[in-house]
């Protein structure tokens, strides 16, 4: 890619038309482009290779602009860097973050065939470029008359309109072909949000979002189960990963405390200091008229309520 870009610039240099600024720009950008192009070949990670391509493309855009092809330079960034390389990155990122290239040949002799084809292409290109003759230069001012996009538009929609339309038709055909080839007819009805909700209701599953861990428990940590309305720990509130790994907090520790509370020890007020603090916390305003929670365990709201109301003042956690 860098070689392709270097061609016209060198041509103008030899013609003695390039300004000093342009020459400096070329000698600054060309090494960067070559390095980036090599980076594409040598990078281990696919995303780094893609980044190298992006760098080459942006440098190339600078080159175009330096040669008065403003439209081409900007469109190069918009279309190739902004859209096509973005799609590449999209795919690469989905393939895997740490994915390296696999060096296993899937087709036998692939490497040698590729090398041969590369040499062939180089020979053909060298032949074509070597035999190319240029008409006498008319100068960029006449080519870009009255402005660069208009001069280009005259060429694309005037002299080359048929080729342009043919390319457009080909692209549309390709897009439609990709669409048709990748289209799969749906065999089962689509399951959307609504259907999922209906199914959940029919199955009698939990309708609300699952309780978050630590909510209304004594600790606001991921591994501490939440307390249900009855004051009992809800095991499923702890993330499944923690449960599978066995990193869940000891549920029995919390359950034991709850059991003590539910067993009615809260009403006595005597006992250890820890118990006393628990009892204080349980006596929330407004809960006096309620029957004791052990009498009606299904209504035992005071326990979670107490944990939210004044949990921090006496308990050290």
């Amino acid at each position: 890619m860098s070689a392709l870009a270097a061609g016209p610039v060198l041509a103008t240099l030899h013609a003695g038309q390039a300004s000093t600024g342009e020459a400096i720009l070329f000698w600054v950008l060309a090494p960067i482009m070559v390095l980036a192009a090599l980076g594409l070949l040598l990078a281990r990670k696919a995303v780094h290779a893609a980044l190298a391509v992006i760098l080459v493309m942006i440098c190339l855009a600078f080159m175009y602009v330096a040669q008065d092809a403003v439209f081409l330079g900007v469109v190069q960034v918009v279309v190739y860097t902004g859209a096509i390389m973005m799609l590449f990155l999209f795919v690469l990122m989905l393939v895997g973050v740490d994915q390296s290239d696999s060096l296993v040949e899937t087709i036998r002799g692939q490497r040698w065939i590729g090398l041969l084809a590369g040499i062939g292409l180089a020979v053909v290109l060298a032949g074509v470029v070597g035999r190319a003759t240029f008409p006498p230069a008319t100068g960029l001012d006449s080519a870009n008359d009255p402005s660069n996009p208009e001069g280009l538009a005259r060429l694309v929609f005037g002299s080359y309109v048929f080729a342009f339309e043919a390319v457009g038709a080909l692209l549309v055909t390709a897009a439609l072909g990709a669409l048709v080839l990748t289209h799969r007819r749906r065999l089962t009805p689509r399951v959307g949000q609504r259907e999922l909700a209906d199914a959940r209701v029919k199955a009698g599953a939990v309708l609300t979002p699952l309780p978050a861990p630590g909510v209304y428990a004594r600790h606001n940590a991921m591994d501490v189960p939440a307390l249900g309305p009855d004051g009992r720990p809800l095991e499923h509130s702890v993330p499944r990963v923690l449960r599978v790994r066995g990193q869940q907090a000891d549920e029995r520790e919390y359950a034991a405390r709850i059991e003590r509370v539910l067993a009615g020890e809260w009403a006595g007020g005597e006992g250890s200091t820890a118990l006393a603090t628990t009892t204080e916390a349980v006596e929330t305003p407004g809960s006096d008229e309620n029957p004791p929670p052990h009498a009606r365990p299904d209504v035992g709201a005071p326990v979670p309520g107490a944990a939210t109301d004044k949990p921090a003042q006496e308990e050290q956690g």
Partner: protein, 448 residues
């Protein structure tokens, strides 16, 4: 790049004339733009918090400085002094480069935004614009599309799930919304006959383009919100779904840069909307006629430009305070199945009308009136065509009785529907009703 573009730009016909610019004028303009952007971001953060707060009937920031104006400065300082963490598993180079890419690309756009007409600065007659060239608006699109790499690479290099999801979303979002944005801009190019910002502004001398191009304007405003990842399109950083999206693993200054880039991008798209659709720095109609257009000359136009810019910033905040976040598939459907087809259709219409105007002797105004007449006649004639007998299929009389538990959970009756008679009532009325036992649940409507 900017200097290059400016140097390579050919002489504009009606656009800004930069021939009198010298190096220090360029420098002054560039520094002024930088300062303007950074100060505007500080004000924008305060503005957003204040306006959203007013919309939610609370005071908003009001402690630091008059009206809480220094709040965002304090926040910025706090971010600066926070611990700068780098994730151990991150791809270091890309991880550090990503916020820089985002900020640098967002800073580039204002180079081609005209703040006003030519003024005298230190003996030089120069337009209030850093530079301009024939494809300035495309250059803005290019900067925006490279700026997205900051988001995408930031999410990828964090080597973490939520940031990656955020950046993947951002990629898809930008690709799909840039299309409709570009298509709506093309209609402006067609009417203005140019892609240079100063020429587009000068083409709006009599009529601002948002009036004849209202559909394109609406499409642009929608897709500019999508392009800047703002609510209701803030899926790449949706707090409720992705923690912080691509910014999750960033802290301190690096996070601040992403934040800065987001707000500068808001200013950018607002400035583009102002320039392309709202007449740029031109004074609004009644003011523009005062004293032979006095307010369209000298330094006055900066005022109108800023007023329009901040109008769009207000729209951003307004939308954020009003709408909920889209679901991702709804968002994609909206982009591909609504915005792009509409933008494309509108583009075809505009191109056809402009082609008629330029390449035929037809008087476009009469043609459009004739077309409108034809449409009106067809619409009136449609009233006389008898409708198909759709109504015959529903001869029902009285409200429809529904089974509220058909889907497994109780639903209230819609208008025109009614519930079956309550079994409990029947039981109360006639002892041991025959149907009472068949349905154990009672159709109570909760929360009515």
């Amino acid at each position: 790049m900017i200097a290059l573009l400016a140097a390579s730009s050919t002489t504009a016909q009606t656009g800004a004339d930069f021939s009198d610019d010298v190096f220090w004028v360029w420098l002054v303009k560039a520094v002024a733009i930088l300062v303007f952007l950074l100060v505007s971001v500080l004000i924008a953060i305060w503005f957003e918090r204040k306006v959203v707060a007013r919309m939610q009937v609370r005071p908003g920031p009001n402690v630091h400085g008059p009206f809480g104006l220094l709040q965002s400065l304090a926040d910025a300082m706090k971010l600066l002094f926070k611990e700068d963490m780098t994730v151990k598993a991150a791809d270091k180079l890309v991880y550090v480069a990503a916020p820089m890419i985002a900020v640098f690309c967002s800073l580039l756009v204002f180079a081609v935004i005209p703040f006003g007409p030519a003024v005298w600065i230190g003996g030089h007659h120069t337009p209030l614009q850093l530079t301009d060239f024939p494809v300035a608006v495309l250059y803005i699109l290019a900067c925006a599309s490279v700026g997205v790499y900051g988001i995408v690479l930031g999410g990828w290099s964090s080597n973490s799930t939520y940031p990656l999801l955020g950046s993947v979303r951002s990629t898809a979002q930008v690709i799909s919304y840039e299309l409709s944005m570009g298509l709506s801009l093309v209609t402006v190019f067609i009417l203005a006959g140019s892609m240079s910002t100063s020429e587009i502004v000068s083409s709006q001398k009599t009529l601002w383009w948002f009036i004849p191009l209202l559909p394109a304007f609406v499409i642009y405003v929608v897709s500019m919100i999508g392009e800047t990842n703002r609510l209701p399109f803030d899926l790449p950083e949706a707090e409720g779904e992705l923690v912080g999206g691509y910014t999750t693993e960033y802290s301190s200054m690096k996070f601040a840069w992403f934040f800065l880039a987001e707000y500068i991008n808001m200013l950018n798209v607002s400035a583009v909307a102002t320039t392309l659709f709202l007449g740029g720095w031109r004074a609004p109609w009644p003011i523009s006629t005062i004293n032979d257009g006095m307010f369209n000359h000298g330094w006055w136009p900066i005022l109108w430009f800023l007023a329009k810019l901040w109008f769009f910033m207000f729209v951003f905040v307004w939308v954020r305070g009003t709408l909920l976040r889209f679901r991702y598939d709804q968002f994609m459907k909206f982009g591909w199945k609504v915005l792009i087809p509409f933008a494309l259709g509108w583009l075809v219409i505009v191109a056809a009308v402009q082609g008629l105007r330029q390449f035929s002797d037809l008087n476009v105004r009469t043609t459009l009136f004739v077309l409108a007449g034809v449409v009106a006649v067809v619409a009136i004639a449609a009233f006389f065509v008898p409708e198909k007998k759709v109504a015959a299929t529903k001869p029902r009389r009285g409200p429809e009785v529904i089974d509220p538990f058909a889907a497994g959970y109780p639903v209230p009756p819609m208008p025109g529907q009614t519930l079956p008679p309550s079994p409990r009532k029947e039981r109360a009325a006639a002892a041991a009703g025959a149907t009472a036992g068949s349905d154990p649940t009672t159709p109570e409507v909760h929360g009515g």
